[in-house]
């Protein structure tokens, strides 16, 4: 029942967002129907489109779940961007030099990338634990440091001189992650991470403690939860997930090397998705897919219609606002209506 309600609310909000966007597209003198058709064709319309959507969604799912777990535990990890970059650069560099068979190399490179992300988050964890520095600030700052540090690595020590932009060399071909009919294995890793994260949050004792910390940290502390070590673990684990996102971007994506801008906006999109999804990992997964459709479909929109690419970012923002806004509005008015009917009943009974 509760699940049904949440799904219904999400669908209504998304539809509202589409209506609002349609109006905006009209004001731009384009046809909303054409735009939406392009969005559909390129986002969902065929297996090719759909598998590519899933590939696009994969990093978003990782960063989204990373943010969702952190926020639900009361740990404000906003460093997904930096952690992803550190994971990506580590995997990209090792992928050039490592010399082991493919079946071993791919998982090793993925995990090492994850650890690089965890390490980056670990700096924030250490500052929090020993100097009580707010992870909110430290993870944010580490994003900037990570950004410039990785660009430095790709521009100087590990530069591929044949590339046109600052980039590392291509990783060994044996480490390219396989795909099935266009759908990359990385997506299955994302599904596995979803299941693992759900199990951790809902079933384990530490997950229980973490969620209670998210609800009320004083309650958790006084109740005997290991608040400090759980926070550290959550920071490391969510850092790992973001790092893994970066590693899989190298192993499974299309570039197979680290280059400037490879992190795109995955970090911040993940944070946004987690917020829309109320920090629930399952909802995060589905919103990740939804944004995958938008992103992929957006490419189609640009091909087929005269809507400029900037407008697509604008539409994304509108959709986020509409989803969040409509959801609150629905909750508010449905509550108002319920209390009004209750009032009628109570007055009538008198």
């Amino acid at each position: 029942m509760r699940v049904f309600r949440r799904v219904a609310i999400s669908i209504i909000s998304i539809l509202t967002a589409f209506v609002v966007c349609a109006i905006l597209i009209r004001t731009q003198k384009s046809s909303p129907i054409e735009v939406y058709r392009a969005l559909y064709t390129y986002g969902l319309g065929s297996w090719a489109a759909f598998s590519s959507t899933l590939n696009t969604a994969t990093p978003l799912i990782f960063t989204g779940i990373s943010a969702a777990i952190a926020f639900a535990s009361g740990v404000v990890n906003l460093g997904q961007h930096g952690q992803l970059l550190m994971g990506a650069v580590t995997t990209a560099i090792l992928g050039v030099y490592l010399n082991i068979p493919s079946w071993l190399g791919i998982p090793v490179l993925a995990v090492v990338g994850g650890f690089a992300g965890a390490l980056w988050a670990g700096i924030a964890a250490m500052l929090k634990r020993h100097y009580e520095m707010d992870e909110f600030i430290s993870t944010l700052m580490l994003n900037f440091i990570g950004e410039y540090f990785t660009i430095y690595l790709a521009t100087y020590p590990f530069l591929d001189r044949k590339a046109y932009v600052p980039a590392t060399r291509l990783i060994k071909r044996v480490y390219f992650m396989p795909d099935f009919n266009g759908l990359n294995v990385a997506f299955f890793v994302a599904v596995f991470v979803l299941v693992l994260s759900f199990w951790y949050m809902k079933m384990t004792r530490q997950g229980y403690e973490s969620r209670m910390m998210g609800y009320n940290v004083e309650f958790a502390r006084v109740g005997g939860c290991a608040v400090e070590s759980n926070s550290t673990f959550v920071l490391l684990f969510t850092g790992f997930l973001s790092g893994l996102a970066g590693a899989l971007l190298i192993l499974g994506g299309t570039q197979h090397r680290f280059m400037k801008g490879i992190g795109a906006n995955f970090g911040w999109d993940g944070v946004m998705i987690a917020i829309i999804a109320n920090n629930n990992v399952i909802e995060t997964f589905f919103y990740g897919l939804f944004f995958g459709i938008l992103k992929n479909g957006a490419i189609g929109m640009e091909f087929e219609t005269s809507v400029p690419s900037e407008f697509i970012l604008f539409l994304e923002a509108i959709i986020v606002l509409c989803v969040v806004g409509t959801r609150s509005a629905i909750e508010y008015y449905s509550q108002a209506i319920r209390s009004l009917t209750k009032l009628r009943k109570v007055v009538a009974e008198k």
Binding site: T204, Y215, N216, G224, A226, S339, K342
Partner: protein, 503 residues
């Protein structure tokens, strides 16, 4: 004609909590009117409506025969209605007069004339006979004095009606008496007072009329003549109070808790919050700590459960020195009911189930496999204890937020008492609870004592301490200043020690 007439007031909190259903209330000019009722009866809601803090779902309010819409406290103040809340809203680092004029400052080109303001506030203070210096910092004042500042604040805003929501909950008997004198003085000067309290003797002492609410309905408004506390209680609860607390002689056994030479210094000022405190608790007895709020009892409890590290001294539980142990390790052997159920005792937005298994989750019997919680076991445990402790709820997946105050506290108490620890630390376990819930929790406390648990009871309610304790310490300025057998002293004597007026 009544001065204020509230007619057929309904309030439904979204989505469907009926807080008030068709309540009438009329206030005459210059009367002291008490509003009583159990937890969740709707007293605060009714008053917040009159003060413009919340909007009624339906109903009308007349002031002096004029129909009014009170949409905000600002509006209420214009109509001469002022309210002092259950929780104070003062800024500790401001002076008394600054707190009083806050939001109503008279300024010239943005500058407040401090001296003039302070004088003006002092005038008001003197006119009504309060004994407070308007130039003191609020942080230097006692709780009782802070409450007076809240009242003065309303008087400064020219309130003719003063609503006092449970003003005596945190006061000693002496302080309460002083407050009553003040209230009567205000009445003499023509003010109308609405007084809310769970203590019926207080209500009978000062009111002219009493309105009884039960479950959002008005039961009656009665003149305070020839009416007894028992009759009022019956109107409030709908049935007579069933039992009296009977306490058997305590049979204390071995020592379960001993606090030795405990001292704590404040980080901010170099003041000692606790100095050289020595107390002990044995199995099978209730040991009370009496003291005016803010005299170190809170810190003492925090030291025992491990939230504050003492600067010197030791804490021994069950013959083991626990001074260096973490909260987590200590909670395996201590049951603890914190004073603040909303912000420490519960996670209001988690489920009732999740609230009930806190701390239990550390125990082996709730583990499953290497990492998991045994949710099935947790559920059946939650069902058992909610039944045993008479918690009223609809669904274990509900949030404690929707429970009444009494039921929220029962969740906390059920969780802690079912832990089975030999040491139970209770910090204000019945604060703000109505008579029935209070009696119920009192009975549980004595049950636990008879089951040979050692109980440390910190309370601001002296009656409660006198009733339940087998031994009683008085704490003042961070020192234990007296140690009594409550059968051998009366409340007044204990109060004298609390105030520091004893030889």
């Amino acid at each position: 004609m009544a001065y204020i007439q509230m007619t057929k007031i309904y309030k439904i909190y979204p989505p469907n909590v009926v807080a008030l259903s068709g309540v009438d209330l009329s206030l005459d000019k210059g009367e002291i009117h008490s509003v009583i009722g159990e937890n969740g009866a709707g007293k605060s809601t009714l008053m917040k409506i009159l003060y413009g803090m919340i909007k009624p779902s339906s109903g009308e309010i007349m002031v002096n025969g004029q129909r009014v819409q009170i949409t905000s406290p600002l509006e209420a103040i214009k109509l001469g209605i002022g309210m002092v809340h259950q929780e104070f809203m003062l800024i500790p680092s401001f002076h008394v007069y600054e707190n009083v004029i806050l939001g109503q400052e008279k300024s010239i080109a943005g500058f407040i004339k401090k001296k003039q303001a302070a004088n003006h506030v002092q005038e008001i203070i003197d006119r009504y006979g309060f004994k407070i210096d308007s130039n003191k910092l609020v942080s230097q004042l006692s709780v009782a004095a802070q409450q007076k500042v809240e009242i003065i604040k309303q008087l400064y805003r020219k309130a003719d009606i003063l609503i006092l929501d449970e003003p005596t909950a945190v006061l000693t008997p002496q302080e309460s008496d002083e407050l009553f004198e003040q209230i009567i003085e205000l009445k003499r000067q023509g003010k109308t007072i609405v007084f809310i309290s769970h203590k019926l003797d207080e209500v009978l002492k000062i009111s002219d009329r009493i309105t009884v609410l039960r479950k959002g309905q008005k039961i009656a408004t009665v003149e305070n003549k020839n009416i007894s506390a028992a009759e009022l209680a019956k109107m409030m609860i709908g049935r007579p109070l069933s039992y009296q607390i009977k306490k058997s002689q305590s049979k204390p056994k071995r020592e379960i808790l001993s606090v030795e030479n405990l001292s704590v210094r404040s980080r901010k000022s170099d003041k000692e919050i606790l100095s050289d405190v020595n107390i002990y608790v044995r199995n099978g007895e209730v040991v009370g700590i009496a003291g005016i709020e803010g005299n170190g009892q809170y810190e003492l409890v925090q030291c025992i459960i491990g939230k504050i590290k003492p600067d010197s001294g030791r804490i021994v539980i069950n013959n083991a020195d626990v001074t260096a142990l973490s909260i987590r390790e200590r909670r395996r052997i201590i049951s603890y009911v914190p004073q603040d159920r909303k912000y420490v005792g519960l996670a209001l937005k988690a489920t009732i189930l999740e609230n009930l298994i806190m701390t239990h989750h550390l125990k082996k019997e709730f583990h499953k496999g290497f990492l998991s919680l045994n949710w099935k076991k947790a559920k059946s445990h939650a069902k058992d204890v909610t039944k045993q402790f008479e918690v009223i709820y609809r669904d274990l997946d509900e949030q404690p937020m929707v429970l009444s105050g009494g039921n929220q506290q029962k969740v906390v108490v059920a969780r802690e008492f079912s832990l089975g620890s030999d040491l139970i630390v209770l910090d204000q376990p019945t604060r703000g609870l109505d008579i029935a819930s209070t009696e119920y929790i009192h009975r549980l406390i004595l049950e636990m004592r008879n089951a040979d648990k050692g109980i440390l009871l910190v309370s601001a309610d002296l009656d409660e301490l006198m009733q339940l304790s087998d031994r009683l310490y008085v704490i003042r300025d961070g020192r234990i200043v007296a140690h009594f057998d409550p059968n051998e002293v009366d409340a007044h004597t204990v109060g004298t020690y609390m105030l520091g007026a004893a030889g």
